[in-house]
Symmetry: C2
Subunit: 279 residues, 2 copies
């Protein structure tokens, strides 16, 4: 299970100390952290806690949310993303996952804009503005295509191709992509292309698609509970030459309402059955 | 408004006689029909009613739902699709829209299968089996890519490319594609390709993506109520050489709960503002 990484969002009820203790109890060595886990506290304290627990941070979630209606908001988003890069350094992780943001909403409220190409250009520009700082600090930006169901409100970057187009403007060790089965499982073109883009894969996340889907945001499944065949995706990532961690990231209210140690037990069992054999 | 066509599902509460009367009152000349409108009755009577109202049927919805777990079910689906082709002939429409079906479920119940490539092959095979009958009766099969959010349960055909791959095995006047903005709006690759595939466009449907989305199935929007910029899509379809009808098809519980004539009035107004200028 050396390549297994527990994304903190999978057990949303755990505080950072609980996460560290829970991972130690289950002999988990890698975690992917969400920034909210240490919000309002000092990231250095969070880093010390994680280090004392013998854990490696495989990625930080999340930067992004780039499209905005005004230059002021753009500057604020840029500053927040720079802060996230600094937090990566403090936590000792080399990967910042970017959820790029949906169509912009006016600061004063009201409906979102409809300029999809312009919003995608804003994402490309914002990644370009961040890349030098990321490179200087040794942090890789991982552009994550989100399922097209989130195109309006969470990420105008919906396909692997769109993410790769943005990444291609930069060195592969500065900007890569985050491959998540939940977001890409329907896309045969992405699967075909995956095995050819090895150096661009900055993170690999697994999560199942439930049927029926309780909710696009909070109805994701533990691998094995849904309809995704993980083998072709894991094999493509491996054949591309990716040797990094495999994160399990689940957003699911029912999972969140279950005891954390039970969830982690199930996740580890499924990982052993459905993911590890293809690594 | 010569190219406007009202998809019967937009005003779900109307019976066929109400639909005919409502269209006459609003001077609408084209309708796209769902088979459920004459279920249990004789299609010839439905056809006579529509004809007497001076209406042209632009397409019939729907054939499809091809992937199955057993040969018996496959045969039953084939027979039902042949019946739909006959109904097209009776109604005087040359287009049968295909909603291709999701991952197959065992006849005895239980979870869906996980073989996505195999299910897509079943769709291709089933379209191939239907094509000679469709050609012989002068009916064109319109493979409709559905939004990837429906990949598990309604259509394993999620992208324009996947639909075109299936269509490409057949003459363009026998198998084409149905382009629906709701399903494709997030896909810049589809928009780019659209203007090059003129002869393959068998139907063009418009529907908006609401934000927030009340529900992927029953939360679709009347054009203008959501985030889609219709102009690039309509212009691409036009520049491809498509000269056929433009159907407005809305699935929305709130719209369905409103008086039909008011809904039709709003739909016509929005069509005039947002679609017609680009035709």
């Amino acid at each position: 299970m050396e390549r297994f990484s527990l994304n903190s969002k999978t057990i949303d009820s755990w505080t950072l100390p609980q996460l560290v203790a829970g991972c130690q109890a289950a002999r988990v060595r890698n975690v992917a952290l969400w920034r909210e886990l240490y919000e309002g506290a000092d990231v250095a304290d969070a880093a010390a806690l994680v280090r004392a627990g013998g854990l490696t941070v495989t990625s930080l979630c999340r930067g992004g949310f780039f499209p905005t209606e005004s230059a002021d908001e753009r500057a604020a988003r840029h500053a927040d993303n720079l802060a996230a890069i600094d937090e990566c350094v403090a936590l000792g992780t080399g990967v910042l996952v970017l959820v790029c943001g949906g169509l912009p909403r006016p600061a004063q409220g009201g409906p979102r804009g409809r300029d999809l190409p312009g919003s995608r250009q804003q994402v490309a520009d914002a990644v370009g503005a961040l890349a030098p700082s990321a490179a200087a600090r040794g942090v890789r930006l991982a552009v994550e295509p989100l399922h097209p169901v989130f195109c309006a409100d969470r990420s105008v970057i919906s396909t692997l191709d769109q993410a790769l187009t943005i990444a291609a403007e930069h060195a592969a060790d500065v900007v890569g992509v985050c491959v998540d089965t939940y977001h890409l499982w329907w896309d045969d073109a992405a699967l075909d292309r995956l095995s050819t883009i090895g150096e661009r894969i900055a993170a690999y996340q697994v999560c199942d698609w439930l049927d029926p889907l309780p909710d696009p945001l909070l109805g994701r499944g533990i691998p094995g509970d849904g309809v995704i065949d993980f083998s072709p995706w894991t094999r493509a990532v491996v054949s591309a030459g990716y040797t990094g961690p495999v994160e399990v990231e689940i957003f699911n209210q029912a999972v969140w309402d279950s005891p954390g140690d039970e969830v982690l037990g199930t996740v580890l069992e499924r990982f052993g059955e459905l993911i590890e054999p293809d690594l």
